[in-house]
């Protein structure tokens, strides 16, 4: 069930830290490989409670990725934990060669996705990561929207075989789902049905899209709202439904190139006929600023979603 407006908010990295510790207690093959930032990635609790299943390789992401792959060949389920910029770029080739190519069961679980490490500046804001991992065969790419959905999707990622990239927020995001909501990797979560325009969002932009949906609904526009937490494999059936509506707005905290909007547009280009407007980071690096300011600089706002939706309807 959706709670809107949300009464509480938490960073989704916290959900990862909480869930992975519970999962580790029940499955001793689950291993966390940290790279010196366990406190920030919220895996410090796992390290403390499950020291025999934990490894800290220091500031050495490439080696960490290789070690995880080696452990996976022996039946371990390693979760590499770092920031999204390093987890998707410093170790990209290692993950490609030693996890995706041999199809090993390694998960890359990264905090500080998108613009959420706002005051850290452009160096730490990962806007390319989901596109990079979407390009790699065998990889699944996910960004959950809030605390409870993150816990569910982390659990599911631990239960499916194969490489998964999971992306979390540094900033707090509203808790919109209750703990009983179920999530399936590769299956969009339909928050609301409608027939004038479809809004497809993921990650921290789902709560922004929710507010836009409310405003549009108040103005008599019927909105279908999807939480497309998995951008690869994309839920083609769900996109098909949106194509039937004919108007689609995508919203993401990622570069406008190669993220959610591109994944949706690919399905539209291949299989159907609909008008798509993409909202996301405008192919530009960020800077140190409040998180909301950075979203605004890229048009990732309630007002812009409402405007684009109305242009289409």
């Amino acid at each position: 069930m959706i709670t809107y407006p949300a009464t509480d908010s938490k960073p989704t990295r916290q959900a990862f830290g909480d869930e992975i510790t519970e999962l580790g207690k029940n499955n001793q093959d689950i291993v966390v490989v940290d790279m010196d930032i366990s406190k920030s990635c919220k895996t410090d609790k796992f390290a403390k409670e499950l020291p025999d299943q934990h490894l800290n390789v220091g500031i050495a992401e490439q080696g960490g990725a290789g070690v995880a792959a080696g452990m996976a060949t022996a039946g371990k389920i390693p979760f590499l934990s770092t920031y999204a910029v390093f987890g998707s770029m410093r170790m990209a080739e290692q993950v490609r060669q030693e996890t995706c190519y041999p199809f090993l069961n390694v998960k890359i679980a990264c905090s500080h996705g998108g613009l959420t490490p706002a005051n850290d500046g452009g160096s730490h804001q990962a806007i390319e990561d989901m596109g990079i991992y979407s390009s790699m065969p065998n990889m699944t790419v996910i960004m959950p929207a809030d605390y409870h959905s993150t816990r569910k999707l982390v659990k599911e990622a631990s239960e499916i075989y194969g490489p998964v990239y999971l992306r979390f927020t540094r900033e707090k995001v509203p808790m919109i789902y209750d703990e009983n909501e179920e999530f399936t990797i590769g299956k969009a979560n339909k928050i609301q049905s409608g027939n004038d325009v479809a809004i497809i969002a993921n990650g921290d932009t789902v709560s922004i899209a929710l507010e836009a949906t409310k405003q549009l609904t108040d103005q008599g526009i019927s909105v279908q709202l999807l939480d497309m937490h998995t951008i690869k494999p994309i839920d083609r059936e769900a996109v098909q439904e949106c194509m039937d509506i004919g108007n689609i707005v995508t919203v993401e905290d990622h570069n406008i190139i190669n993220g959610l909007g591109s994944a949706v547009s690919n399905v539209v280009a291949e299989e159907g006929n609909a008008r798509v407007r993409k909202i996301g980071v405008q192919d530009q690096f960020g800077e140190s600023a409040p998180y909301e300011k950075l979203l605004e600089l890229n048009g990732i706002t309630v007002d812009n979603i409402v405007r684009k939706a109305k242009e289409l309807v």
């Binding site: 490439q62 080696g63 080696g70 060949t73 022996a74 090993l104």
Partner: protein
Amino acid sequence: MSHPTIEELKQQAAELRKTAVTMVYKAQSGHPGGSLSAADIITSLYFKEMNIDPANPDWEDRDRFVLSKGHVAPIQYSALAHLGYVPFEEIHRLREYKSPFQGHPDSKKCPGIDISTGSLGQGFSCAVGMAIAGKMDNKDYRSFALLGDGEIQEGQIWEAAQTAVKQKLDNLIAFVDDNRLQIDGPTEEIMPNQDIEKKFESFGFQTKRINGHSIEEIIRTLDEFTQEKNGVPKCIVCDTVKGKGVSFMEDVVAWHGKAPNDEEYQAALAELEGGLES
């Protein structure tokens, strides 16, 4: 672990060299130089040292081997073919469509390959991960890795080394095939390694430099190192000659990644018959 005599192992090494050269000749592509420099190390591991079962390549207690210098796949493939991991006639399909013998080792396509390699600098980290998993599961298996002297220019090698020492991996043994040549020229010119033993030693490894073409020395060093359960990973730096066993390939940079023609192939086979001079 089997118990062949040193003489039998030398014969086996000669057979592996012939098979590797045949594979590269047939494919008209591949890396003969480094395959020949690594032949005696590979023979000692596959035909003497490692606890492996060709009939059960995924046996969970098997010793692991990672060919971190993945481009010398022909010598590893030769060992796998002679041991029966794959039908022997597959040696004629190196680098062909749907062959188990891909250009670089592919664990999805070839039984007996513990992990795919080919991008230099990465395999050693994987071998470290295998050794860590073994420790976590209280298994007795060992993890062996073969590194090139050019390959250790990659920074990731040293990330793996520091993790191996921190994790006290006395179940890990790295070989460095120090044949002193890389594609663009002598390692000493392209990027000097300085003292490889001292480098590994200063990271915390127990190291030894030996003649990488002396099966006696390789076996003796392995006996010594595998018995030391002292919480320290080991590194065996091997003095080798690129192209060893084929006179016109020995110490010649051009034979890094070049296939012999008909005449060269016949000459190579004739020289390899009977093994290395001792």
